[in-house]
Amino acid sequence: MTDQPAIELVGIDKKFGAVHANKNINLTVAKGSIHGIIGENGAGKSTLMSILYGFYQADSGEIRINGKPVNIKDSQTAINAGIGMVHQHFMLVENFTVLENIMLGAEGGALLAKGVASARAELKRLETDYGLDVDPDAVIEELAVGLQQRVEILKAMYRGAEILILDEPTGVLTPSEADHLFKILGVLRDQGKTVILITHKLREIMAITDTVSVMRRGEMVATRKTKETSVEELAELMVGRRVLLRVEKGEASPGDVVLSVRNLTVKDNRGVTMVDNVSFDVRAGEIVGIAGVAGNGQSELLEALSGIRQPSSGEILIDGQPIGRASPARLRELGLAHIPEDRHHMGLVLKFEEYENAVLGYHRDPKYGRGFMLDLDAMQADATEKIEKYDIRPPNPRLKTANFSGGNQQKIVVAREIERDPRILLIGQPTRGVDIGAIEFIHRRIIDMRDQGKALLLVSVELDEIRALSDRILVMFAGHIVGEKTAEAGEQTLGLMMAGIAA
């Protein structure tokens, strides 16, 4: 590790319309180091790195590479400057082969034939040098996510990247895959390459980075030597105040089984089995948490339970009655409410006014209009009530939903589902991208629901959240439930189970 900076960002500023994603950011990354960037969802990490990679253009600011100012006007300039990036959402052509994806943009001549041979040879070399092996003739859509990520890394290496940016690479990986990735990153560093690693997992930061920078709400709030900081300090820097890791809650008093799942198998749109023969029960008055790395079938499980996706076999029972192929609308009538994982895509119609979203899914209720009519006055009155009760800001039911902040948007969803007073509540990622104040509020409501004797199923990729709220924890891995633990189980144990290693 030398002291010569590989990258210097000076005064980078970027707005997306009303959203100020990066505010006057300064950042220096030393050559031959692994530099971590952490921050909550929406802090502006991806934006900053995409600017460095030439994917977005900064509104103002300067980028220096190896001390020289570079005008990075597109990704080509960035690639030529030796920068490679593995995006949070993979940038692969799904029906192309690995080889085609790797050659794309670096074909080595106007005709493909020439480049193919040298690309194959180069791939072979990278494979042996870094342990990045993948079949060059496999079609991307048939590869597992971990392998797809490997292709992304290969793409960057193939272009001779000296500086490698990885945007949340471990979100889709099992711990062992993540370990393998970190090993590769170590090798890269040893060869003098510079790595920038974006994540919001503090443990990873502590484990492999040399330096870490923290972003909050578009600002770069601090940079520390990893050795000289602690998880606690980073967490505080990230959210701007002390984190309440524990939620106050009393003992659970579980009642009858309300929701049960028997041998449930669910396939995704591509026909891949995502939930494989899963069975469990949820009782009244308890919170069952489902822990797991994203992409292990939790989403499909929630979709099946809420009627959005039809399971391919097995059954779901409410009060012991099989629900058959009940639609989400029918399930709502049965007293099942659902806070979806992704409020932007499912929970809300961003272009609707707030009061319209406040009835989404319940719009056929006679309360909101008789017969086939809608009663706008009743809808607005209802929305105003919830706005007050949940302190949604600004308190205007006629405002377009897109114009609320993320936390308030989430409150709109939470209010809608909880205020129906359901008997069963499915909850997906309740606090994703939500600020601390709102997190506490939402957690409180969830506990209240339990104490009122509702059956709650909680899915979250945040282990802390699962542990703080759940009375029982089921761990999901590769579509299976690999084990059940209580909240007292150690992080270590749960982590291993999430990796599919121990039961």
Partner: protein, 367 residues
């Protein structure tokens, strides 16, 4: 900085921007006129006089506008549910069959006002039926509705020609058309309405279907913004994933929406078939289905906007006809050019001026 998410006041989005787009379309049309060697200003004058100068001209203008209101509504309803129905043309063509069969069957026995409800139902049902298959294919098999509705325009045209040439034609007559409907199968002219304004309708075929069109505007407005089904349509149109989360049945919503859309397109046939020529002829739709796309786009998919845009196109159609009469060098097809330009600028290039307007507006607000 991207300007896409900056919001502008309504008067800019719904007033100034369409106006600028329209102006550009007309300026380019003017250039074409000038290229042909005619005076564009003179042309505009003749066009406006032709469309609005006399009672008869206004009658024709409103007659054409009636067609476009129906097809515009048809396109708009589908768009609200996220469906691009470019099959209004074919649905209207089939609608003519529905209307004509009713008229042929009943004109002998019933007065027009008794025939009319059946004719409306017949036209709407036939148009809806023609929309059903593309709708079903989209809903159940995921076939792209744009492509299937294009295909169905052609299939419909072939079917209608076959029927007119081989089945419905009056034996011994040359033109492939049905017999002329009797009074009982015709919609009455709206001379009284024109006379209220002291205008003479003359020969213009401005007829009762205009009133039906206006009623449908109200019905559509109500459907979209005041009913539960309208809410579901809009949810599906904006966010299919939210719709599925909300338990809004995709296939049912798509099919019903397309049936409504096709029904509205089919009702357009009342105007030319029962209101004007009193018979079913080949190609009577004459592109009105496609004009509906422009009308809906320009009217921002809102019934009120659609009425205004339909009036504009009515003026173009009627005024264009008169213009070509007075300036023989400019054929009536000039209006097709203008339509194309309006669709281009008000539709595909809808937001061309937005970034500039955002910049100007922001400077203005800051100042």
């Amino acid at each position: 900085m991207s300007t896409a998410s900056v919001s502008l006041p309504n008067w800019i989005t719904y007033g100034l921007m369409p106006l600028l787009n329209l102006t550009l379309a007309f300026v380019i049309s003017g250039l074409v006129v000038w290229l042909i060697g005619e005076n564009p200003f003179e042309a505009v004058k003749l066009l406006l006089i032709g469309a609005l100068g006399r009672g008869e001209g206004i009658g024709f203008t409103l007659f054409y506008a009636t067609n476009f209101i129906f097809t515009g509504l048809s396109v708009a309803v589908a768009i609200h549910a996220g469906l691009f129905n470019i099959g209004s043309e074919g649905q209207a063509y089939l609608g003519g069959l529905g209307a004509a069969l009713v008229a042929l069957a009943l004109d002998n026995y019933l007065p027009w006002y008794a025939t009319m409800p059946f004719a409306i139902l017949g036209a709407a049902a036939a148009g809806a039926a023609w929309a059903f298959i593309p709708a079903w294919l989209q809903a159940k098999r995921g076939s792209h509705i744009v492509i299937t509705t294009i295909m169905f325009n052609f299939i419909g045209a072939a079917l209608m020609v076959y029927l007119l040439v081989n089945v419905l034609i009056v034996p011994g007559k040359m033109a492939p058309e049905t017999r002329t409907f009797l009074e009982g199968g015709q919609l009455p002219k709206l001379d009284w309405l024109m006379e209220l304004f002291g205008l003479k309708l003359g020969a213009a075929p401005f007829n009762f279907s205009f009133i039906i069109a206006l009623v449908m505007c109200v019905v559509v407005w109500f459907l979209i913004w005041r009913t539960k089904f309208g809410y579901e349509m809009r949810t599906l149109g904006i966010s299919p994933s939210a719709a599925s989360y909300a338990g809004i049945p995709y296939a049912r919503t798509v099919i019903i929406t397309m049936l409504i859309s096709g029904g509205l397109a089919g009702m357009m046939a009342l105007n030319p078939v029962m209101g004007a020529s009193a018979r079913l002829q080949v190609e009577f739709v004459g592109g009105a289905g496609f004009v509906g796309i422009a009308v809906s786009l320009m009217g921002r998919n809102h019934p009120l906007g659609i009425v205004l845009a339909a009036l504009l196109f009515g003026i173009l159609y009627q005024g264009g006809g008169e213009l070509s009469f007075d300036m023989p060098n400019i054929t009536r097809d000039m209006i097709v050019v203008i339509q194309g330009l309006v669709i281009l600028f008000a539709g595909a290039l809808e937001f061309m001026f937005r970034p500039a307007l955002v910049r100007i507006y922001q400077n203005f607000v800051k100042a």
